[in-house]
């Protein structure tokens, strides 16, 4: 990694940490590709977080895996089901499991210090997970996720809609977890033992992964329509994904379907977000799965086009059989009146005054003066979003001790976990998220709210004309994003930036939702 003159040889103020405590990787089980766990209501899944051996780009690495798999098992359930997950922590670190996007009972949300104590190495915890909403969800640890999630602890939950026609007919479905991993010639780039490092921009990897593998491969017949369930499980990278020029139809997002389907050229997906797209492969050949961005180099003051190929979809010359030809349905953009009608109940609240405003900011007071000088200069231009590590030298030296990321309540000035917001089940709250461009280093943030769902009503005063229920929304630098939060689930719920290093640097608050008043 290049370093500024004068800062050469400096290291972040942490003890370098790697998983496995120096264990010989050959003594660990080799991870296997994820299996599908089709579970019914009342079933129990045994889930072990454990050390595994992975070989990526020729390097043998000690990593983590659920049940020795990469990604973790794909949990396949019907909407309305409740399953038990018997979690065993066989790591060297405490851990938990958070069921991202699932509106489950608060006690099983997996947030240490808020909903449970961390599960210590060797201990167990029984989670009860109820799937209220159909869609694509994912699970991951909520303890040092900058390490544990990055090392492979993530998996998806595909919750089937009870209605058979909820989605368009397709030839197949693929569940893709998008990730990256930072390695150098010695293997995994070290993490910080005492606290997270790379807290300015988060840990960008230099190898992009799809379902834990550097080269995704799929073979389809000519004319096949594939529904992709996409999840960004990376620590900080926002992807701009396309399918080699194939037509992409946007169908759904975090918590269900859009009011209306629409065509898109690419899919911009921030950490923790999910999108459901349908793609038709019309012609024989190879379609590259690409992440195309405009990288910013603050040091040299320039943009550069950067394309990573994450894999390819090989299309055979033989067409799909006539009975399986879904091109006509694919060619139509569907409206989902059921979705719109459900949202209709909330529309009278769209124009209400903002109930709470959160200002997204940061403090870098403990950073060395030279780095602050550099950041002051290089953030004269504040891009709405950054798709690469635009300042790797400063990022490398930042830690959870010298950078604080902030959610500030505009009304009270309280910050992060000092904020006290209390609601009752059944209430709605209009919340404005303002990403302060005057922060020392502003950056876009994927804001996630646990255990509830929300609608993104508007950005910068312009109404969102095609709504979908969300649990994670990107707030660009300088923008005001208005959301309508439905408080449907009692308990103490975390809300935070889903850049793993940002939550480790403080960017979180707890929302208290009291049970609805009962009448005798």
């Amino acid at each position: 990694m290049p370093m500024l003159p004068g800062l050469m040889g400096l290291e972040p103020a942490v003890t370098p940490w790697l998983p496995g405590s120096g264990r010989d990787p050959s003594t660990l089980p080799e991870a296997t590709f994820r299996r599908v766990e089709r579970l019914s209501d009342g079933d129990t899944l045994q889930l072990r977080a454990m050390l595994v051996r992975r070989t990526i780009n020729g390097r043998t690495l000690v990593m983590y895996g659920y049940n020795g798999q990469y990604p973790g098992p794909l949990i396949w359930v019907d909407q309305g089901a409740t399953i038990l997950v018997d979690f065993r922590n066989e790591l060297e670190l405490p851990s938990t499991i958070h069921w991202h996007g699932v509106r489950l009972d608060n006690a099983f949300d997996g947030v240490p210090g808020v909903t449970q104590e961390a599960v210590q190495p060797g201990d167990r915890f029984l989670y009860r997970v109820h799937f209220r909403d159909a869609g694509i969800y994912w699970y991951h640890p909520h303890v040092r996720s900058d390490i544990q999630q990055d090392l492979g602890l993530y998996g998806n939950m595909l919750v089937r809609d009870a209605r058979p026609d909820a989605y368009n007919p397709v030839n197949r479905e693929e569940v893709l977890a998008l990730d990256d991993l930072l390695i150098d010639e010695r293997g995994l780039f070290p993490y910080g033992a005492e606290r997270a490092v790379q807290t300015l921009m988060g840990r960008f990897g230099n190898i992009l992964l799809v379902n834990g593998q550097p080269e995704y491969r799929l073979e389809v017949a000519k004319g096949e329509v594939v529904r992709f369930f996409l999840t960004n499980v990376s620590n900080t990278r926002t992807f701009n994904l396309s399918f080699g020029g194939a037509a992409i139809k946007l169908v759904g997002a975090d918590v269900g379907r859009f009011e209306r389907e629409e065509w898109v050229k690419s899919v911009v997906i921030g950490p923790a977000q999910r999108y459901i797209v349908e793609v038709m492969f019309e012609y024989p050949g190879h379609y590259a799965l690409r992440n195309a961005i405009q990288a910013i180099d603050h040091m040299r003051g320039r943009f550069s086009s950067h394309v990573d190929t994450l894999g390819a979809i090989a299309v055979e010359g033989q067409s799909v059989p006539a009975g399986s030809d879904h091109s006509a349905a694919f060619g139509r953009l569907r409206e989902n009146p059921g979705v719109a009608e459900e949202i209709d109940r909330y529309r009278p609240h769209f124009d209400r005054p903002v109930d709470h405003e959160l200002v997204l900011s940061m403090r870098g007071g403990e950073l060395p003066a030279t780095i602050v000088q550099v950041m002051t200069l290089d953030t004269l231009y504040k891009p709405p979003a950054e798709f690469n590590d635009a300042m790797p030298m400063m990022n490398y030296l930042s830690t959870g001790a010298n950078v604080t990321w902030i959610l500030r309540d505009a009304a009270t000035g309280r910050e992060n976990t000092d904020i006290v917001w209390r609601f009752k089940v059944g209430e709605l709250a209009k919340i404005r998220l303002f990403n302060d461009p005057k922060a020392l280093h502003p950056m876009h943030h994927p804001i996630h709210i646990h255990g509830q769902r929300f609608l993104v009503l508007a950005r910068d005063g312009v109404a969102n004309e095609n709504l979908v229920w969300k649990d994670t929304a990107i707030v660009p630098v300088g923008s005001r994003v208005d959301i309508l939060l439905e408080l449907s689930n009692p308990g103490d719920w975390l809300a935070h930036c889903h850049i793993s290093e940002h939550i480790e640097a403080g960017m979180k608050l707890v929302i208290h939702v009291d049970p609805a008043a009962t009448t005798n």
């Binding site: 003159p5 629409e262 898109v264 405009q294 550099v374």
Partner: protein, 192 residues
């Protein structure tokens, strides 16, 4: 590369969204003849605003350039190759109409090797358009015809995209000095 408003097979949803966005943006503007607010005015919601730099040809007229992010279902609008898609809105004040002069706005690369028409300045003294260039200049010229497809007349105003502030720091003094001031010495594990 612009405009990238056609998407997928038909592109119409993008066009519809942009049209809606324009309508909303325009509807928030003051009436013709009313003095417009500057960049400090509350409630405009642009993520960036800068004052248009006038030339003597502007004859006392003023204006601002507001940038908005284009509508997108994803939170951040980017083109297929990753460029941020901006809506540019120019708002002018006190610009006098003169016979034979039609005011047209353009967007150009900083090198001026590519120029595209943004649109004619309407009676309401504003114009909006879309670009996905990383860096750009906005220029208002006086043209002999309102439908001018190339820029030939005198320049009245210009402005630079905020990305124009992205400058190289490689040659800055602070990076060439190996003897950092004491307060800059990073107190590091094993090195303090």
């Amino acid at each position: 590369m612009i405009p990238t408003i056609a998407a997928g097979r038909c592109g119409r949803p993008w066009l519809t969204s942009l049209a809606l966005a324009f309508a909303i943006l325009v509807s928030t503007n003051p009436a013709v003849g009313q003095t417009r607010a500057g960049c400090d005015a509350p409630g405009t919601h642009a993520f960036h605003c800068s004052v248009l730099i006038p030339t003597p040809e502007a004859h006392g007229a003023t204006g601002v350039m507001r940038l908005f992010l284009a509508p997108t279902p994803f939170g951040v609008p980017v083109s297929e190759d990753g460029r941020i898609v901006h809506i540019i809105r120019l708002e002018l004040d006190n610009l006098k109409r003169r016979p034979g002069r039609h005011y047209v706005a353009w967007v150009a690369t900083p090198e001026l090797d590519q120029r595209r028409r943004l649109g004619s300045i309407g009676d309401d003294l504003q114009v909006s358009g879309v670009t996905d260039w990383n860096r750009f200049l906005v220029v208002v010229t006086a043209e002999p015809v309102g439908e001018a497809e190339s820029w030939s007349g005198p320049i009245l105003f210009s402005a630079s995209s905020p990305s124009g502030w992205l400058t190289t720091m490689a040659g800055e003094e602070i990076f060439g000095n190996n003897e950092l001031p004491v307060q800059s010495q990073y107190c590091l594990v094993n090195k303090c």
